[in-house]
């Protein structure tokens, strides 16, 4: 297995996200988890653009399908490796952010965090404008917006 796929698998595992790409929802979870995970400072090289469900990376899509095929073919290379302590420490710092602290669905939580962060930092929007976009395009996330924004602020990922 290419080293980059080993790294991708370990990264997802250490974020506490199941590596499951069988459904649209589970793939959304992987997409947003990697987006947020890279905010730890471990840049895996995935660059995102804005699509229907917020930030999306087509290179990541190709890679997780390729990784899935390797795993199904019985390639256990990822299991025989682990990150350095430094890398694991950085991932551990962001992992808590990915855990919803209320009854919100994981896919909603990650979509909310990733989308709001993208709008604020990549698109350069202010809080009001970013919230308007979320309210307009992602009405299913609106009720969690305040909690999500606070979480990102607490992790120092967006300014208040």
């Amino acid at each position: 297995m290419d080293r980059k796929f080993v790294v991708l698998k370990l990264f997802i595992d250490e974020l506490g996200i199941p590596f499951d790409i069988e459904s649209v929802e589970s793939r959304l979870i992987v997409q947003k988890a990697i987006y947020l995970g890279q905010l730890s400072g471990i840049d895996l090289g995935y660059r995102y653009g804005w699509y229907i469900h917020g930030p999306y990376c087509s290179d990541l899509t190709k890679d997780y399908y390729a990784l899935d095929r390797c795993l199904k073919a019985g390639d256990n290379d990822a299991q025989n490796n682990k990150f350095t302590g430094e890398v694991s420490s950085l991932i551990a710092s962001i992992k808590l952010l990915l855990k919803p602290n209320s009854d919100v669905k994981l896919s909603y939580w990650l979509e909310l965090l990733a989308s709001y962060h993208f709008l604020r930092t990549v698109r350069g929007m202010g809080d009001v404008e970013a919230r308007e976009i979320i309210q307009d395009k992602k009405s299913h996330l609106v009720q969690y917006l305040d909690v999500g924004v606070r979480a990102l602020e607490n992790f120092g990922l967006v300014s208040a």
Partner: protein
């Protein structure tokens, strides 16, 4: 704005007119560097004329962008979206096409892949770590990269391009003097944020874009292979913009588009995946890895940014790497020496096994199984012939006829892929377009469900092993190992 400030002779397009801003970009050291970065890597070792540079290709892509935009402008399409700022935006798009390859590493994809693999391994621990993992203190640390981690991650060439736009003093000076924002340019060729509002977002990065149009023509010209010889003037004349401001073709040009996309397939199989090119590039990749291990080459994200900031990125080209390889060859021993010598003296590795087929996409899982099992047999093969296992390489590739269809045919993934797909304008409503693979009479609708799967076993032989008998035995042994896998597959074991 004068897009005819200077004219440059080009073997593919005749003469290429450029603006003053484009001329000034051409004159920067970072752009001049592209003269020494070959577009086709080591393909010139098989096709002697295939040594054209990314410099000429970048100029060609810029010219193609200009032609497309001129065609759209003549139909009034650009005024609709850029009222009052047509020329300024045309300049930005031409500039994006001109600069789209500026971040390419020497030897392009071979080196980029080797770098990615090397630095990915740096993130992994070779031994059990007994220390407890302590989360890094949260406040103030997240959102930025620690210096240590930046020496273990890498930048894709598109990201290097973005860094050059923002950090290279020469390029910065030109863009600033012509009031062009670097972010506007990198947004176009990296298809980043603003997706849903970006005009002509598939002009520079898509299945049928100005990059590919120039590349296929230029490669056809320089290799004398016929693939890519498409009627470009007609194709461009049939381009329009749909209501979502994407580039699309009239239905009349569908066959021309299909010809171009199939030309891509033939080009890959004959050039990039050519058996000798691929064999030599294996050697190159391994030698680059040796140079990274020894520290003769340093290509982490931090190193590349340092090269850009210090102005020495312009020295980091194919010539620079070849010099390092020559130095390595003089001082190395064993397998490393043999690989370096074979590369420098153009002695391609022997092909013990070659298997290729066109199958439905669903075969990919099975193919991975075959590959995984064959990889596990390389050591057995090498031991049988008493050769170092590092002298054997299982080369594996799969190739789409079109990228659409790779992911599930639903949701975000399909939509994202359709953004890149060739689009056809509706006959009844010329503002509506659909991906070509959804057209019932397009051959790509069928081919979109198929992929080419290829596998080869390369062996770097010593002189004494290059006898007919040894090669025949290797063929036989490799074929036996492969046949066992295929039989297992057929029997469902």
């Amino acid at each position: 704005m004068n897009f005819n400030y200077k004219r440059i002779a080009d073997p593919v397009h005749g003469t290429i007119p450029i603006s003053r801003a484009e001329l000034e970009i051409l004159e920067t050291p970072s752009f001049q560097r592209l003269r020494n970065v070959k577009q086709l890597g080591l393909a010139y070792l098989i096709y002697p004329g295939a040594d054209y540079s990314r410099f000429s290709h970048s100029l060609g892509a810029c010219h193609m962008a200009g032609c497309v935009l001129e065609s759209l402008s003549s139909k009034g399409s650009l005024k609709e979206v850029w009222a009052g700022r047509v020329e300024q935006n045309v300049q930005v798009y031409r500039m994006a096409a001109l600069l789209h390859d500026i971040g390419h590493y020497p030897f392009s994809h071979t080196m980029e892949h080797a770098i990615k693999e090397f630095y990915s391994a740096q993130l992994l621990s070779p031994q059990e770590e007994k220390n407890l993992i302590k989360p890094v203190q949260i406040a103030g640390n997240l959102g930025g990269t620690t210096q240590s981690i930046a020496t273990k991650t890498t930048l894709k060439h598109e990201v290097v391009g973005k860094e050059l736009l923002e950090l290279d003093p020469g390029i910065q000076k030109v863009l600033k003097s012509h009031r062009i924002e670097p972010k506007e340019i990198s947004r176009i060729f990296r298809k980043e944020e603003g997706q849903e509002h970006a005009v002509l977002r598939n002009l520079v990065t898509a299945d049928l874009d100005v990059d590919r149009i120039d590349y296929l023509q230029r490669t056809a010209h320089h290799t004398s292979l016929p693939y890519g010889s498409v009627d470009i003037r007609y194709l461009i004349s049939q381009m329009g913009m749909d209501s979502e401001r994407r580039l699309a073709l009239s239905l009349k040009a569908m066959r021309t588009a299909e010809h171009l996309l199939l030309g891509r397939y033939f080009d890959y199989m004959q050039v990039s995946y050519h058996k000798t090119v691929a064999g030599l590039e294996w050697l190159l990749s391994d030698i680059i890895t040796e140079l990274l291990k020894s520290g003769d080459l340093k290509c982490s994200a931090a190193d590349v940014k340092d090269l850009i900031r210090s102005g020495t990125w312009s020295d980091f080209d194919d010539v620079h790497v070849m010099q390092r390889i020559r130095t390595l060859a003089q001082g190395a021993e064993g397998v490393v020496r043999r690989k370096a010598d074979a590369l420098l003296k153009r002695q391609p590795p022997f092909i013990a096994l070659q298997a290729e087929s066109i199958q439905k996409r669903e075969f990919h899982g099975t193919f991975e199984q075959i590959v995984s099992n064959m990889k596990n047999k390389i050591a057995e093969f090498a031991a049988h012939f008493s050769i170092p296992v590092d002298c054997c390489h299982l080369w594996v590739r799969s190739l789409d006829f079109t990228e659409t269809g790779e992911a599930s045919s639903e949701g975000e993934e399909y939509n994202a892929l359709c953004e890149k797909a060739v689009r056809l304008l509706d006959q009844r409503d010329s503002k509506v377009s659909t991906p070509i693979i959804e057209n019932p009479s397009s051959v790509l609708r069928i081919l979109g469900n198929y992929k080419v799967f290829a596998l080869r076993l390369y062996v770097l032989l010593e002189e004494r092993d290059k006898t007919g008998n040894m090669k025949n035995e290797m063929h036989s042994k490799a074929q036996d190992l492969y046949s066992v896998e295929m039989e297992r597959l057929r029997s469902g074991a």
